[in-house]
């Protein structure tokens, strides 16, 4: 089963998850990974340089020559047109990357910490606590995530729709849904490693068991976690957009948010005003597409049977790539599949 084989040490650069996989990939698989990485890079760069890129502020309603016109078709002053409220569509799309980025970061950080912690504790201690946590995780899993997000947004922010309130409620609700995912990965890993010989031996020689557990579990899980990250990130964006679309979004003067802009665009579409809906929608699609492409490629590369065969035969898979398969990767890939249904 778990062959913690002693492969030659790799440089730090090579061990950075994505870089390693990029080097490992070939052909179309590399193409998909690169495409995904490019989209994600554009997204990140846009978020960082939004103040420079955006022609106007996200809540700007008037320029040097008076109020912006409302619902104006794309023109030289407003490259992607203006909304019903008079916002510049291009600026809101660009500023929206910052909001999307924030929600991803908050969601992932929360999910990792809580999910990893609970999974470790649950798997390590076992017993009644473990059972309860497992049942609770299942129960939470059954709750429609978007509705959970609505409830949580009300509980957390008192229904207020400021930037942080909106981001936190989307992030927390996504966290609640994703904790069971991280929880299960980490827990399964913990259970498996707990039974491993080297942990037993560590116990015998009296070293700190929990430290060993933590190190080994995390080391092994780092190969599966990026996959969940990417899904977690996509879901966070989609949930934020869904919240915005249902009217629980972020106040437009507090931040730009694509779901909210789409929500405001509903009545435009039937009047043939397409630019207010199309661009924020495309922004969501492209970002999620980029992130998911990266995730899918990483998934394939972690699985020897899905990985495109390399031309050179001799190169052994680096340490750890095989170890996860029996207890880890594939199982979790499956779980990820279930998550994808987000009707």
């Amino acid at each position: 089963m778990a062959s913690t084989s002693l492969a030659p040490k790799r440089s730090i650069w090579q061990r950075i998850p994505v870089v390693h996989q990029l080097r490992q990939s070939v052909g179309l698989q590399r193409g998909m990974l690169v495409a995904g990485l490019v989209l994600v890079a554009i997204f990140l760069l846009t978020a960082i340089f939004a103040p420079l890129l955006a022609p106007y502020g996200f809540s700007q309603l008037k320029g040097d020559d008076g109020d912006f016109p409302t619902q104006q078709a794309p023109s030289s002053a407003h490259l992607l047109g203006t909304t019903v409220g008079g916002y510049d569509v291009l600026s809101r799309v660009i500023w929206g990357t910052q909001t999307a980025f924030l929600v991803i970061v908050v969601a992932i950080i929360l999910s990792i910490f809580i999910g990893v912690f609970l999974g470790l504790v649950s798997g390590y201690l076992g017993g009644w606590l473990d059972r309860i946590l497992v049942v609770v995780a299942d129960a939470v899993y059954a709750f429609p995530s978007l509705l959970l997000a609505i409830v949580i947004s009300i509980v957390i922010s008192g229904g207020q729709s400021g930037l942080w309130a909106g981001v936190t409620s989307a992030a927390v609700s996504i966290t609640v849904v994703f904790i069971p995912q991280y929880f299960r990965v980490i827990r399964a890993e913990t259970l498996r490693i707990k039974a491993e010989a080297y942990v037993e031996s560590a116990k015998v020689i009296g070293s700190n068991r929990s430290r060993i557990m933590f190190r080994h579990v995390l080391r092994n899980a780092t190969r599966t976690l990026p996959l969940i990250f990417t899904l977690n990130a996509s879901e966070a964006i989609l949930t934020l957009a869904g919240l915005g679309f249902l009217g629980f979004g972020i106040e437009p003067t507090a931040a730009a948010e694509w779901g909210y802009d789409l929500h405001k665009a509903i009545s435009d579409v039937t009047s043939g005003i397409w630019w207010t809906a199309l661009f924020p929608g495309l922004a969501i699609v492209l970002v999620v597409l980029g992130i998911t492409l990266v995730g899918e490629s990483l998934n394939d590369l972690a699985d020897p049977r899905l990985r495109t065969r390399r031309r050179a035969i001799g190169s052994l898979p680096p340490a750890g790539d095989v170890t996860v398969i029996p207890g880890g990767t594939l199982d979790e890939v499956g779980n990820i599949d279930q998550l994808e249904a987000r009707p």
Binding site: S59, L61, K62, D67, T70, Q71, V84, G85, G86, S153, I154, G158, G159, Q160, S161, G162, G247, F248, E251, P252, T253, A254, K264, I266, S267, D268, V269, T270, S271, G272, I273
Partner: protein
Amino acid sequence: MTSAYTKTRRTLAVVAGTAAFALVLAGCAAGGSSSSDGTVAKTLTIGTTDKVTTLDPAGSYDNGSFAVQNQVFPFLYNTPYGSSDVEPDIAESGDFTSPTEFTVKLKPGLKFANGNALTSSDVKFTFDRDLKIADGNGPSSLLYNLASVAAPDDTTVVFTLKTANDQVFKQILSSPAGPIVDEDVFPADKLATDDEIVKGNAFAGQYTITSYTFNTLIGYKANPDYQGVLGKAKTDVVNVKYYTSQSNLKLDIQQGNIDVAFRSLSPTDISSLESDKKVTVYHGPGGEIRYFVFNFETQPFGTKTADADPAKALAVRQAAADLIDRDALSKNVYKGTYSPLYSYVPDGLTGATTVLKSLYGDKKGGPDADAAKATLEAAGITTPVKLDLQYNTDHYGESSSDEYAAIKSQLEATGLFTVNLQSTEYVQYSKDRKAGVYSVFQLGWFPDYSDADNYLTPFFYNPTDTEAFIINHYDDPAVDKLILEQGVTSDAKARAKIIEEIQAKVAAQLPTIPMLQGDQVAVAVKGVEGVKDTLDASFKFRYAALSKVG
């Protein structure tokens, strides 16, 4: 499904039902886009995004439910087409037989559609029931002045009131607390379900309901037995389709899948339909008003703040009033579907003025930054003034966010204010507002009955033992006194004068700043007539006035 049709109806009902069935089918065969032979169509389809909560008048106090109840239940008093004042509906007459006794005479021989007689005991039953159930979502609070009801004989009802000479009580009889229900169908101590009501055929308004799918489709049929002030229905069968999205409603009226669309289309939809040759957009006076409220305790320089100063607080409110550009809001945000509102009583009601126009801004209705600056300087306030402005997105309409972004922009334009804009989900919003969390906040109002009183008492009547619903700690005993006075002044002219005086007094203090008055907007395909007749200051949309030719 909550289909009302069952095989277990009483024989009479079955016959009626079958007839309705045939009519419905006939209507459908011709429905939609009927041939243009100049005859009046038997069927009319109306679309709306209203939501019904319950058909039982004791259990609902919202526009969507009242819109339905209005078609099918009789009222003692009602507003005739084109008027804003009430007249006896199924009643023959109503008079104060003593200062606290309002006696109503019913027309003889009234019947419910199920054949049950409609007598004074049904009326007594209705109001007793409403007060007894006092349902959490019901309108029983409107009956604040009703002490008891008596039915000495079949056609006489005596309402005993708590305060004498209440001029508003007739209006209340036309409000959501007013629909008369059948005592043989409705339980006395709990709400009836929609199914029970439809199966019981307990209707006596202009229409009866023949088929009912909750918030999806309601089938109406004209009630031949209705003898009230509004007259018989012009179209025999009316189907009302319930939409959840405005844009779908808009598409369907545009494509002719429905004949009339009423409430609510977005401003964008309406302006786009106005240029569509296949439909006509009708505007009528609207009772809905939009305004924002200052909390006298927590607003800048409010009584509970560290630097409390009533004069400065007033200056802040006045400066804000100086800066608001109602025309811009009306045109840019609402595309003309809301009109500027310059007083507390909206245009179209007896006693309405435009007092704010002459007091603030450029005195002609427009904004004036210099006036605002002068006001603030005169009060010794250093600018910019920080204002926390709260609004809500899910209760007062989709466009609220655009409206308040524009208001923020207007207030900040010349640097006199910095506005921190926040929006909050409705239930939490109501809670926080009551707890005094918000210093300046948005509200909206849709009237219970079309009388100036309904725009004054709930807002500004703040005697010691009770509190107005806006809870902003505004209290002016002189206004309280005048409000009481207008309620019992029976001379119409004298009453209008008092109402004007109240508006002037309130306008000087600005506990709220009224901004917009919503038009009633209906869109109809060509050939539909009578829309204008019912878009009146009663703020009740009666399907019975509509007909379709060709």
